[in-house]
Amino acid sequence: MKTIRQMLLAVLLTALLPPMAFAQLTDASEIVGKANIAAYYAGDDGRSAARMLIMDANGNRQQRQFTLLRQDVEDGGDQRYLVVFSRPADIRGTVFRVEKQVGRDDDRWLYLPALDLVKRIAAGDKRTSFVGSHFFYEDISGRALEEDNHTLIETTDEHYLIESTPKDPDTVEFASFRTWIDRETMLPMRSEYARASGEVYRRMEVTEVETIDGYPTGTEVRMADLDSGGYTITQFRFSEYDIGLPDRIFSERSLRNPPREWLQRN
């Protein structure tokens, strides 16, 4: 009796549940590839208003507010970014422009309005702080997949757990990092960076996800520095995709004259 009832229940449940969005993946490079697309390449372009709250271990807080414009040249490939700061007021109008180039070093420019100065930031290490927060440049624009070796460690009901080790350990401060990728949305929900001793010293967590224009989007991300006890929370608000950003706004001209019409929400 009992077995029959259980079987019946199982059949019913299977019939009622929607089919899985993705079948179970087993190839690590396929998984990280999809995760990369989900996290950094939603739509052909996008706009988001970001607020950063930077907290140190003593409870001191700093705030950053900026608008992020992005255009994909190719899915999973080159991208263009424009980051325009609005707050604190003393840095209003400061702009970063990034030409992300897969397989090559990115090009980065910085405009400082109070100095009326455009400066190219030399290629090289992208694991430096993004405007004093606990995020690195690389966390904002994505780390090139080919820089690491990726291994699928575990597949749970919810996550793929990937361990990545750098091909050139001298260029990074970590020995390895693990990423928990949501099986349904393919968004990396958590990353933990470890030293050679295995000690985890840095942790990224996506604490809120919203589906916007059909794209699951991490709208609140927290990066913790476990050495110092500080952390940064970034909220992405008013995110929009496929808004038709023109190529011309990702130019040097836009540094001095940010494209106001594209920075405002509709």
Partner: protein, 862 residues
């Protein structure tokens, strides 16, 4: 009283022995709970104002105590800037980062800092200075040039001559620095190459001192005991009898230390010397008893009766000497320095315990000895006491001379006092934990080498703080109301939603800046909902909020940075300051690199916004948090890190004076206050408190002892006379300290109490016995002749026992112990001479009033 106590003890010797044994065992059992404390910060009470501020500054700017590791290479022409040496530095830095207790993210070394430089026209580069060790000589040279080019690193990370480098290791707590420095040394031992490494820094000096002090406690005090024992044996020739005071001294020391530890006090530099101070004082009274017992005991006589007589005779002077010695030390409780208070009170308690044990333990012990042993003692007493030993003849001659040439003696002492007075005026108050080690100690060597190469391994922090946030909320309320009212005047009502925002912001945060932040977000949101009419008013509110927040960022204002830049330049001009590191350096350096990299652009940007954006550029580096060691995230307080090449308190004091003089000439900007922090500054504060406190406690103790003397002798003149040897001794000792240029530091300071306590002992015995002799003989001359036999010998013996007993301290590798040893000997000599020579000379000059010769007839008729 003395007789009754002694008889009681002699009737119950077992109870006395068991009681003594019990308290000693109890004390000894508590000793393993020992907690060593060498933190000079604890010289100040935990709630002391400067100490609280020092800790607040450390927390405010994420400052930690630092171990400094210097790397030098004398063999290579390029110093350490060659591939092999830098590889070792790189490996060492990586290793240090892994040590438990090291604050990894603040570790400063060539391989953990960023280089900021030009990378072609219009291009700036932030990258690790030395992420991987250089492979070629050219790469090593490039690292040297880049480091020398950055003002924040020059003379700090790299020596000015470009040959040495340093690693600054911030640690979580000072009391781990000895362990961490040993782990660093272990890493160094495994490194290859021919670099020389030096480890120093105040925390290492302090913590290492604690470790060595612990060892010294276990060596010096027992060694001193051994020497005292040998000397007493020399005088009395009876191991069994001499064992009594030694056992008692151990009982006193163990019980006192056990009590101190058991009551939860930490063993500080001062309290570690308690055994050394107690040992001689505990023995002194017993020497008097044994000396007199040996004189009086005759074969066939009842030992018990002899002892009772001796005790009856000596009880009062011993009681008074013990109480006065105890007062001398207890007066240290009037100093405002907790470890000195603890030291004074426990030595005082130990002295009283020693007295109690002396009057019960020594009699009980002596009468338990077999008659044969006592007979032997008596024989040796005979042998030691005759008047024709060298010491005896010397004393008789000395006494005769002093009495005969009283005027000259007194004049010589008076002249000595004048010179001493001059010497005292020359005393330099100074201390430096690094100087606690002898000059060939590795810490002293490291200190010398590193401070030759670099700006300085000692840190002081000068904080500038603004009161801008005090008035800001009221100003903001007024200005925002004005906008709301203007809007109403123009027919736009936004009061309701604005007040709602204010309420919400009020609820969510106590901090004004955080409130403003929340308001700005709320108004920002409101702007998107606002109609065309309301829009401009919301916009002006947002502008006001932003402007208010901007105004709060005081240390982003160019004029503030300019003040800091001038101030630091003036401070760095003084010889004591090697270098000052400030926000102004950071902003100027980043600005220079943003502009052109040329020296002409090493300046402060012209607007607050330009400063903010320059700082934002720096925050794109690997170590943005370095900023918060120079300024608080609200930009309302700035920290000037002074690197001093000397840990001397007087040098720190000179810097403080200089800063004050500068501020006098160049007033601080409106609303800015200045305050100090850092270990070196804390040392100055407690030293200041110590000097004032010592003078006060010495004065109090002097008056109390004087009152005791009046009570004891029931005579104003004799009371005053008894105070003269100690006064002269203290004056002479400190006069010599001033004349030879020895710094007045903590051990020197507490010696005043010891002098007070011991000198008065000699004077009491001398005066008491003189008066006794005078009562018997009725003649000053005869009394004095008697005085230079047995009584003078007892005093001299005591002085010699103590002085020689502490000479082993000179062998200790720690300077404060040497100081105490050498000054103890000098004090003993000075006070013995002052008592034996000056007192009789003075008495002779005033003998007509105090000891007039009585004619036989007067005596008979009286």
């Amino acid at each position: 009283m003395g007789r009754r106590l002694a008889e009681f003890a002699m009737n119950h010797p077992k109870a006395v022995f068991i009681g003594t044994l019990l308290i000693t065992l109890l004390g000894t059992a508590l000793i393993p709970l020992i907690q060593i404390d060498t933190d000079p910060e604890n010289m100040l009470p935990a709630d002391q104002e400067d100490r609280v501020r020092h800790n607040a500054i450390k927390e405010q700017f994420n400052l930690n105590d630092m171990i400094v590791v210097g790397v030098v290479n004398d063999d290579h022409p390029e110093g350490v800037f060659n591939p092999t040496s830098l590889s070792a530095v790189h490996a060492l830095s990586r290793g240090i980062a892994e040590i438990d207790g090291v604050i990894r993210q603040d570790l400063l070394s060539l391989s953990t800092v960023d280089n900021i430089e030009q990378a072609g026209p219009g291009t700036i580069r932030f990258e690790w200075m030395m992420n991987t060790p250089p492979q070629t000589a050219a790469e090593a040279t490039a690292i040297r040039e880049a480091t020398l080019d950055l003002p924040l690193f020059r003379d700090t990370l790299i020596s000015g001559d470009g040959e040495a480098t340093a690693i600054y290791v911030p640690i979580v707590a000072k009391d781990q620095s000895h362990r961490i420095s040993r782990e660093i040394q272990a890493l160094i031992d495994e490194l290859e190459g021919d670099n020389q490494y030096h480890i120093t820094g105040l925390p290492v000096a302090e913590d290492t001192f604690g470790v060595e002090m612990f060892i010294q406690m276990a060596i010096s005090a027992p060694l001193a005991a051994l020497v005292i024992f040998a000397l007493m044996w020399w005088f009395f020739r009876s191991v069994t009898l001499v064992a009594a005071p030694m056992l008692m001294a151990f009982a006193v020391v163990l019980t006192t230390m056990g009590a101190l530890i058991g009551m939860g006090y930490t063993v500080h530099i001062m309290s570690s010397m308690i055994p050394i101070f107690l040992m001689p004082i505990a023995v002194v009274d017993s020497v008097h008893i044994i000396s007199e017992f040996a004189d009086r005991y005759r074969k066939g006589r009842d030992a018990r009766e002899t002892m009772a007589e001796v005790m009856e005779h000596l009880f009062t002077p011993m009681l008074y000497t013990s109480i006065t010695s105890a007062i001398g030390f207890a007066s240290l409780a009037f100093t405002p320095i907790p470890p000195v208070q603890v030291f004074g009170l426990f030595v005082a308690a130990g002295i009283l315990l020693a007295f109690l044990l002396t009057v019960i333990f020594i009699p009980a012990y002596t009468v338990r000895l077999k008659p044969e042993r006592l007979a032997a003692l008596q024989a040796s007493g005979r042998r030691a006491a005759p008047d024709d030993t060298g010491l005896a003849r010397g004393l008789i001659g000395l006494g005769g001379m002093a009495v005969k040439n009283a005027k000259i003696v007194v004049s010589v002492f008076a002249l000595g006092l004048v010179i001493a007075g001059y010497g005292i005026s020359q005393i330099t108050v100074n201390d430096n934990p690094v100087r606690w080690f002898q000059s060939d100690h590795r810490i002293r060597v490291a200190d010398r080498v590193l401070n030759e190469h670099f700006a300085g391994t000692y840190s002081a922090y000068l904080r500038l703080e603004s009161d801008v946030s005090a008035a800001a909320p009221a100003d903001f309320a007024e200005e925002s109301s004005a906008i709301i009212e203007q809007a109403e005047g123009a027919g736009v009502d936004i009061r309701g939603p604005w007040q709602q925002m204010l309420r919400e912001a009020e609820q969510n945060s106590d901090d004004f800046n955080a409130k403003l932040e929340q308001l700005s977000l709320a108004v920002d949101d409101a702007l998107f909902m606002a109609g065309d009419q309301a829009y401009p008013w919301w916009e002006s509110l947002l502008t006001l909020i932003d402007e208010t927040r901007g105004r709060l960022n005081v240390f982003q204002r160019p004029e503030m940075l300019a003040y800091i830049a001038d101030f630091q330049a003036a401070l760095a001009d003084s010889p004591e300051v090697g270098k000052v590191n400030t926000l102004a350096d950071l902003v100027r350096t980043v600005y220079r690199e943003l502009r052109s990299g040329d020296e002409s652009d090493y300046r402060i940007p012209e607007s607050r916004q330009a400063v903010a954006q320059t700082i934002l550029s720096f925050q794109g580096s690997h170590r943005p948090h370095d900023l918060w060691r120079m300024v608080t995230p609200d930009y309302q307080a700035a920290n000037l890190w002074l690197q001093l090449s000397s840990g001397d308190n007087q040098d720190m004091q000179a810097v403080v004076d200089q800063a004050e003089a500068y501020v006098e000439e160049n007033p601080l900007p409106q609303g800015i206050t200045m305050s100090w922090g850092g270990l070196n500054y804390i040392n100055v504060v407690w030293q200041d408190a110590m000097v004032k406190g010592m003078a006060q406690s010495l004065a109090i103790a002097w008056v109390m002892v004087a009152v005791m003397m009046l009570l004891l002798f029931r005579s104003f003149v004799f009371g005053l006379l008894a105070m003269i040897p100690l006064t002269v001794s203290i004056a002479f000792i400190y006069g010599v300290v001033g004349l030879i240029g020895k710094y007045y530091d903590m051990p020197i300071a507490v010696l005043s109490s010891l002098t007070l306590g011991l000198s008065v002992d000699f004077a009491i015995h001398f005066i008491e016995r003189s008066r006794e002799n005078y009562r018997r003989t009725g003649s000053f001359t005869k009394s004095m002749q008697l005085m230079f036999r047995e009584p003078a010998r007892a005093i001299s013996r005591n002085a010699i026992v103590i002085a020689i007993g502490f000479l082993p301290l000179l062998a200790a590798p720690l300077v404060p112990y040497n100081t105490v040893g050498i000054f103890l000997a000098s004090i003993m000599a000075t006070s013995a001479i002052a008592s034996i020579v000056l007192l009789p000379a003075l008495m002779k000059l005033i003998r007509r009033w105090i000891m007039p010769d009585r004619s036989q007839t007067t005596e008979e008729s009286a």
